[in-house]
Subunit: 392 residues, 2 copies
C-alpha cells in the first residue's frame, strides 16, 4: 500500500449515507458500522428505512431488524460488537502501523448497553450504563494498543459535541458550561480531549482550545508528512502541546450555526454576535436546549443580534455567566482584535458547495449495497426533491 | 497528657470570638489564626475593629495593621505564614501523634496570595491565584505528613460550603450544581472530600453523602475510642468507606437555614419543603446567590413552601434541574420514607440554646487578650444589646 499504514473506522459515520460519501470512498480501507445513529426506528417505513449496518462496502443488516436494540429495556449487544471489531483490528498479526477511528453511539438517545452493564451505573439510567460500557470498551482497547511496546501509538479520546440537554436527565451534563448541543454556547461546542502517547511527552493538562480539525495537521506533523499547500485547512498542528504542553499562539475557533457565524473564541476571550437557545415552537413541545437557564436578552428563543457584541473571559468565566460590560477596559482592550480576526476569516473563507439544501425521501437507505444477499432491500418511494427544513 | 496526642488549629476559627468560645477553651492545645475571616476592614472602627490574629491565648496583631493584606493588589503573605505554622508543627521532634486542623481563608473575598502566586493562575484573578497558593501549601503539608512512614496519618481535605457565587466571576464555581453558598440547593451545601490515609485502604471514589460531623465518629472508630453514649451526635462513622469503599446504609443529611428545615437528602433522593434564592432587596443591590438560573416557582426570591414537596434524584440529576413529577411512580415510591425520616428527626431533635439572637457592638474584638503588650487595645463603645438581624 502506498500510504504504509492500514485504516479502519468502527462505528458511526455521519458525513453522508449515499455510496459516494461513505468511508471507503474517503480513504478508509475498512468499515464496520452505520451511516447514521441508531435512533431512527421505523417499523412501518413511513419516515424511511431502518439504518443499515455495513461491513466494508456491503451491509450485513439493519438496526433493530438484525442488530437488535430493545429500546424499552435499553438493551443491545452492539457496543460489545464494536469493541470486538476494534480489538481484532489492533491485534492483527502485522507490524504495519494502523489508524483506527472508533465511534460508538450508544450514549445517543435512546441509550443502550449490554446485559453486563445494564443497571450497573449509580444513576441507574440507560445513559449511565452506556457510558460505563464505553468506558469498559476503551479500557480494553487501550490495553490492546499498549501491548506491543515497540509501537509509538497515539490515542485521542474526544467527543463531537457537548451533552444533549434536550434529553433532560436521561442523558449527559455539561457541568458548569452554558446550555447544550444545538447551541453556540460552551455547552454546545466545548468538549474535553484526553490523549495518551506511548513514546510521547510528559503528563500534563492544557487549557488551549483546539478542534477536531487540528488532528489532521497534528498527525501529519508527528509523522513528518508535508500536507499539500494547495488545500485549504482550518486546523493547525497541536503537536507542541502533546510533546511539551507548550502554550501555542492563540488560534480562533468559530461557532457557526448553518452559514451564520454566531460566535468566536480567541484565547481567553469569546465574542457572541448572535445568541439563541430554543425556538418557541420547540419549547411548546417540551424541547429545551438550555434548561433552567435565564439571562435577559442573551438566552433568547429568537436569534438575537448582539449590539455591541457580547464578550466573556472563558478562563475566568467558562460558564458564560458574566458578560464583560462594554465600557470596561478589558472589553475595549480586546474587541478590536476579535473583530479583526473574524473579518479576516470572513474575507478569506472559501465557501463549500451546499450539500444539505435539497432533501428527497427516495435517496434514503432503501436498497444499500449488499441488501439483496440478505433480503433487506426496500422499494424506494418516487423521487420528490424538496428544500430541506432543519428545525434546529 | 491524658489524650496521648497533641492538637493544633492553624487558621480561621468561626465558632465565637469571645474568650470562652475560642479554640484553646475547646480542646485545642495550640492555635495560630483568627476568630473570623479577614474580610472585615475598618480603618475608622465604625463597624468594629479589625480582626485580631492569635498565637495561642494572646493576640500578636490584627489583620491589615500587623498582618498585611493589600486588598487592591490582592497581595498578602498570610497563607505562607500558615503553611510555615503547619510544617513546623508536623516536623517537631516528637513521636507523639498529632491532630492538625489547617484552615486558610485566602479564597474568601477579598482574595489574596503572596507574590510568588499573584497573577500565576490562567484566569488571572486573585481567587485563582489564592487557590493555587493553597494547592501549593497542601503539597508541602502532605509531603511533610508523608515523611515519617511509621506514622499512620489520615489527611482529609474538604470545604465548609459551596462556592460563593455572590462574588460572581471573582470567585469559585459549583460546576453543575445549582446556586451557591447561602442557599439549600446543592451548590450551597455539597462539597467534595478527598482523603489520604498512609496505611489505609485501597484507592477509590465514593458517591456516599457525608458531613463534617461524621469526622468525629470516624476518627474515634479508627483509633478504637468509644465516645460516651450520653452525648447526642448527628454524624456517623464513615470508616468503612475509607477502609474498603463500602456502601453504607443511607443516612439523612439535613439542609437547614436558621431553624427551618428546607430540604433533606437520603441516598439518591433529595426533598425540598422550602426553596429560596436571594431576597429582592439584595437582588436590587446586585447580590445574587443563584446567578443565571431560573426555574419557575423553585428559584424564588421569597421563601416558597413546596406543596407537594419537590423531589430530585441526585444520582441522575445532581444539578437539581428536573424535579420528579409527584404523579410518577418514582416519587410515590420514595416520598413516604423521606417524610418519615424528617418527622423522626424533628421529634428526636434536642434544640440547642440560641447564641446568635442578641448582638452588641461592645463585645466585638476591641481589647482581646494580649492587646496591651502590642498596643492594639481599643476602647469598646457602651454596651447596647439588640436583636441581631441576619440579612441572609
Amino acid at each position: 500500500m502506498k500510504s504504509g499504514y492500514r485504516t479502519k473506522i468502527v462505528g458511526k459515520w455521519h458525513l453522508g449515507h449515499r455510496e459516494q460519501f461513505l468511508p471507503l470512498q474517503h480513504g478508509f480501507q475498512e468499515w464496520f458500522g452505520a451511516p447514521n445513529c441508531h435512533f431512527q426506528y421505523n417499523v412501518t417505513w413511513r419516515q424511511g428505512p431502518n439504518i443499515p449496518v455495513y461491513n466494508n462496502s456491503l451491509i450485513i443488516g439493519r438496526y433493530y431488524e438484525d442488530i437488535k436494540i430493545d429500546r424499552g429495556l435499553g438493551l443491545s449487544n452492539y457496543t460489545q460488537i464494536m469493541v470486538e471489531q476494534a480489538l481484532e483490528y489492533i491485534n492483527r498479526d502485522t507490524e504495519e502501523p494502523y489508524f483506527l477511528y472508533w465511534a460508538p453511539d450508544s450514549t445517543h438517545a435512546p441509550s443502550y448497553s449490554s446485559k453486563k452493564y445494564l443497571h450497573s451505573s449509580i444513576r441507574d439510567s440507560y445513559y449511565g450504563d452506556a457510558v460505563r460500557e464505553i468506558d469498559g470498551g476503551i479500557g480494553q482497547i487501550l490495553k490492546a494498543a499498549k501491548k506491543d511496546k515497540s509501537r509509538d501509538t497515539l490515542v485521542v479520546f474526544t467527543s463531537d459535541n457537548g451533552a444533549a440537554l434536550v434529553s433532560k436527565d436521561l442523558a449527559g451534563s455539561n457541568g458548569p458550561l452554558l446550555c447544550g448541543k444545538q447551541t453556540t454556547f460552551e455547552g454546545g461546542f466545548r468538549v474535553p480531549t484526553i490523549s495518551w502517547w506511548a513514546h510521547g511527552g510528559p503528563r500534563g493538562v492544557s487549557s488551549e482550545a483546539g478542534s477536531h480539525m487540528d488532528l489532521l495537521q497534528t498527525i501529519a506533523h508527528m509523522v513528518g508528512y508535508n500536507l499539500p499547500s494547495s488545500i485549504v485547512l482550518d486546523g493547525r498542528s497541536i503537536l507542541p502541546i502533546l510533546k511539551n504542553n507548550s502554550k501555542l499562539e492563540d488560534h480562533p475557533v468559530f461557532y457557526y450555526r448553518g452559514n451564520l457565524l454566531y460566535a468566536m473564541r480567541l484565547g481567553a476571550y469569546k465574542v457572541h454576535w448572535y445568541t439563541w437557545t430554543t425556538p418557541p415552537y420547540e419549547l411548546d413541545k417540551g424541547i429545551d436546549f438550555c434548561p433552567g437557564v435565564y439571562m435577559p436578552n442573551i438566552t433568547t428563543t429568537h436569534i438575537q443580534k448582539q449590539e455591541p457584541p457580547l464578550m466573556y473571559n472563558l478562563y475566568r468565566d467558562p460558564g458564560e455567566k458574566y458578560p464583560i460590560p462594554n465600557k470596561y477596559k478589558e472589553y475595549r482592550a480586546n474587541i478590536q482584535l476579535l473583530e479583526d480576526t473574524a473579518s479576516k476569516h470572513k474575507s478569506e473563507l472559501v465557501p463549500g458547495k451546499p450539500v444539505l439544501e435539497m432533501c428527497d425521501q427516495a435517496v434514503m437507505n432503501w436498497s444499500p449495497p449488499g441488501c439483496e444477499a440478505i433480503n433487506r432491500c426496500l422499494k424506494p418511494p418516487p423521487s420528490k426533491p424538496y428544500t430541506c427544513y432543519w428545525p434546529h
